[in-house]
């Protein structure tokens, strides 16, 4: 099967290009396996990867126009030639490796940690199964960046729009019955850009390899803001 892989070596001075490789497909082969096979023959190819099972979030790439995790993308599902590019909209460091620092900064900006202000109990803070169920579909995010780098609003305003990942994280804490920073969290998302650049395009939902729904989380934040303001 033919792969066309985006290549860029900042030290060579050459412009980025697409390079063709042929890989023999085995049953059950994932795109990460194919990239590893390419690398076995050409050690200059750089890409991030680690767990190989879709939990570490290292190997987000753009495959035939869609952001996916290479390790859980079956080769059998892909149209030939398979075009593999870095996640869009981020500066490329080398080949398939992009600079994710802006993405991580937005995550930090939403203060993605529990704030419980009452004195702590000696045991666990109680949470009913129903309250805990509100976190399902939120806490599973693996920070792979497939969603935010698929979002046109994030492409246009990468410095100011938080992006679907960070907003999903913001909602994960707003939705947690143990968190007591609701007002501050909502206030921090006010203004025309941080939250409201989301136009419900839903590329994030399509891109998320874990099946999460940032658009729905964003809608919940907006609803919560409205509730607070009246």
């Amino acid at each position: 099967m033919r792969l066309e892989i985006y290549r860029y070596d900042p030290e060579s001075g050459a412009a980025p290009r697409m390079q063709s490789y042929t890989v023999e497909i085995r049953p059950g082969m994932m795109l990460r396996d194919a990239l590893l096979e390419v690398k076995a023959g050409d050690e200059t190819l750089a890409f991030r990867h680690s767990c190989g099972e879709g939990v570490c979030g290292s190997d987000g790439v753009n495959v035939n126009g869609r952001n996916r995790l290479a390790c859980i993308t079956p080769m059998a599902e892909l149209r030939e030639p398979v075009q593999v590019r870095p996640l869009p909209g981020r500066p490329v460091i080398r080949d398939l490796v992009v600079d994710m620092s802006t993405f991580y900064r937005h995550y930090r900006e939403v203060k993605p940690y529990l704030e419980h202000r009452d004195p702590l109990p000696e045991q666990e803070i109680r949470q009913s199964p129903e309250e805990r169920a509100r976190l399902d579909g939120l806490y599973e995010c693996i920070l792979c960046g497939c969603c935010s780098t698929a979002c046109p609003s994030f492409w246009w305003n990468p410095e100011r729009f938080r992006g679907p990942q960070a907003l999903l994280a913001a909602w994960r804490f707003l939705a947690d019955s143990r968190d007591q920073a609701t007002a501050e969290r909502l206030e921090a998302l006010e203004g025309p850009y941080r939250l409201f650049r989301c136009h419900s395009i839903m590329n994030c939902v399509d891109a998320c390899p874990k099946g999460l729904n940032p658009t729905a989380a964003i809608a919940r934040i907006k609803a919560e803001m409205l509730k607070e303001s009246i």
């Binding site: 690398k39 750089a46 939990v55 940690y113 199964p129 920070l143």
Partner: protein, 587 residues
């Protein structure tokens, strides 16, 4: 050469659960902490832990840390140090509550308490009925914990050096740890991190094996750094094969699947564990279950066209249990096997999983090594915690749910002891330039150009060698041959060459350096396994099938220099309770 330098109170190498929990204790106490990690912190392999973390909370059934302690001593086949085990099992309870307060999204019981599930080897009343002790966030407990710890470190403003690779530890002539030389992966430039205390928290070395539940990054870097720094590695012959890796592929299916009621079946539809562990059955300890599966397959009762695996059945548990308690493994099965475990059985086979051995430490996380006055002398300023360390709490075989516990408890303990050390040693010592040069030489070695074998191909060969010569069942002849082949392979690794000498994000260079680390650890593992003439826990010698407490109830210490093996006694005295004397181990 003008090497850029940064200076911190503490350098932590590795951003998994142990490193991040230590960092959090330290940063919250006002210490200046640098965490160096070769991947972005949430990509560390703690993220892949599924089933849970053990703590005698007693949320479902009455429980006691003392029962947990007994199970851990027995599970480790009496090689664990009982002072450290007592400490860990006691600390488990406040540690889990602390995590919950930090925000870990644990699953819950109807009364709002943390959900706990049964896990292998966990009993009540010192070997009685099954305990329910393993605290879980569905089957994504490691993910939930790692992300929470990273989040809390963001709050605490820990310094992170993401995608920096640690080359070597620096020690001065007196043996005091001074920090490490690290390499920025993005720029390819070295950086000297000077620190008054250094914590090695680099995780395991499962990449020694071809079929493994471990990630690509689990190359035992910290253990190998210690070996090169003259510190021995303890008990590395004890390596756990997890009973339920996806057959032929290696992805982990949590023990929690059996904890929730799943069971193993052979080709005749028999519940095979009844034969090997009549009482605990599928929840016997992992070494027992792994050997049982291997025996079934070897004796022709394996499933599939090649009879090379057994089946894990969850289809009787019902849709709801699978959806609520095991959603992650359901995803894995759908992705990699195109099956739904709520309906179809999962093909499984024992898969390389966990190093019980590692850098020798005491229960405060301090690295201890024989220097002048005995085997347990503290290496000043040097700490280790997590899978790379050997306290030893797991002895010869780790129980499921005790690894998350280990990293959290000893990460936290190391953090506390580091604070005391920092107080007693307020000044940085001068960096030993000779040590820096030795570390730099490691990098320069890969600048050699010309013809030579590729590190990538050699890594594949090493993994096959280890699988063939140091797997579930071992014997003298196979390992002696393995040692010979390993020697030849190590000579070839010394002559290997990179073709790519670029600086920026050169992953081939990183992998070459990792290969050197793996090669040293392979030597440690096979040498110690070859020397240990008994069967204990995960170390199963066909030619010495019995445990031999008279001659072998002792820890191995492997020194890189001269590939020498030494031994030290097991600490059988707990802190406050009676010692558990060795007994025959039946489940």
């Amino acid at each position: 050469m003008a090497l850029p330098r940064r200076r911190f109170d503490t350098l932590i190498i590795g951003a998994g659960g142990a490193g991040l929990n230590a960092a959090l204790q330290l940063a919250d106490s006002g210490a200046r902490v640098a965490v160096v990690s070769k991947v972005f912190p949430t990509r560390s392999h703690t993220v892949a832990a599924q089933g849970g973390v053990n703590a005698a909370l007693g949320n479902k059934l009455p429980d006691d840390w003392h029962w947990h302690m007994f199970d851990t001593v027995k599970g480790g086949d009496y090689l664990g140090d009982q002072d450290a085990i007592e400490f860990m099992c006691r600390e488990a309870v406040p540690t889990v509550y602390e995590l919950e307060h930090h925000g870990v999204p644990f699953s819950r019981f109807a009364d709002g308490r943390i959900y706990q599930r049964p896990f292998g080897g966990m009993t009540r009343d010192f070997g009685g009925e099954q305990a329910t002790r393993t605290c879980a966030a569905a089957d994504r407990t490691g993910h939930a914990i790692l992300h929470t710890l990273y989040q809390q470190n963001l709050r605490a403003r820990t310094h992170f050096f993401d995608e920096y690779w640690a080359v070597d530890l620096l020690r001065d002539e007196e043996g005091v740890a001074l920090g490490a030389l690290v390499l920025c992966i993005e720029t390819g430039e070295p950086l000297l991190v000077e620190a008054r205390t250094t914590l090695v928290a680099t995780g395991g070395c499962g990449q020694l094996f071809r079929t493994t539940t471990n990630a690509h990054i689990n190359t035992g870097d910290g253990m190998a750094m210690c070996l090169r720094a003259g510190i021995p590695i303890q008990d590395l012959e004890f390596f756990q094969f997890h009973p339920t890796g996806i057959a032929g592929k290696g992805m982990l299916i949590t023990e929690g699947a059996r904890g929730e009621g799943g069971y193993l079946e052979n080709k005749d539809g028999e519940r095979l564990m009844a034969r090997y562990a009549p009482h605990a059955k599928d929840l016997a300890s992992r070494d027992v279950v792994s050997r049982a599966i291997a025996v079934e397959v070897r004796e022709g009762r394996g499933c599939g066209p090649d009879g090379d695996h057994v089946l894990l059945r969850l289809d009787h548990l019902g849709e709801r249990v699978v959806a609520e308690r095991l959603p992650g493994i359901r995803d894995l099965c759908r992705t990699f096997l195109h099956l739904d475990p709520a309906r179809d059985p999962i093909p499984v086979f024992p898969t390389a999983h966990y190093a019980m051995g590692g850098i020798p430490t005491d229960r405060f996380g301090r690295v201890v090594a024989p220097a002048r006055h005995g085997p347990e002398e503290v290496v000043p300023g040097l700490y280790a915690a997590g899978e790379c360390a050997c306290v030893s709490v797991h002895g010869a075989n780790r129980l499921g749910g005790n690894s998350l516990l280990d990293i959290l408890v000893f990460g936290r303990a190391a953090g506390r002891d580091i604070l005391a050390f920092l107080e007693a040693n307020p000044h940085h010592r001068p960096t030993e330039e000779a040590a820096v040069e030795r570390a730099m030489a490691r990098l320069e070695r890969w600048e050699r150009k010309g013809e030579g074998e590729s590190p990538q191909a050699l890594r594949d060969e090493l993994q096959r060698l280890m699988e063939d010569h140091c797997g579930v069942f071992r014997d003298r002849a196979t390992m002696a041959e393995g040692l010979q082949r390993l020697e030849a392979l190590r000579a070839r690794i010394a002559e290997a060459r990179l073709q790519d000498h670029s600086r920026v994000f050169n992953t081939a260079r990183i992998e070459a350096l990792e290969l050197e680390n793996l090669a040293d650890l392979a030597l440690a593992m096979v040498t110690c396994a070859h020397a240990r003439e008994e069967s204990r826990g995960a170390h199963s010698r066909v030619d010495f099938p019995e445990r031999d407490d008279r001659n072998w109830m002792k820890h191995s210490l492997f020194f890189l220099e001269g590939a020498r093996v030494d031994y030290k006694p097991v600490r059988t005295r707990p802190l406050t309770v009676e010692s558990f004397p060795p007994k025959k181990r039946v489940y």
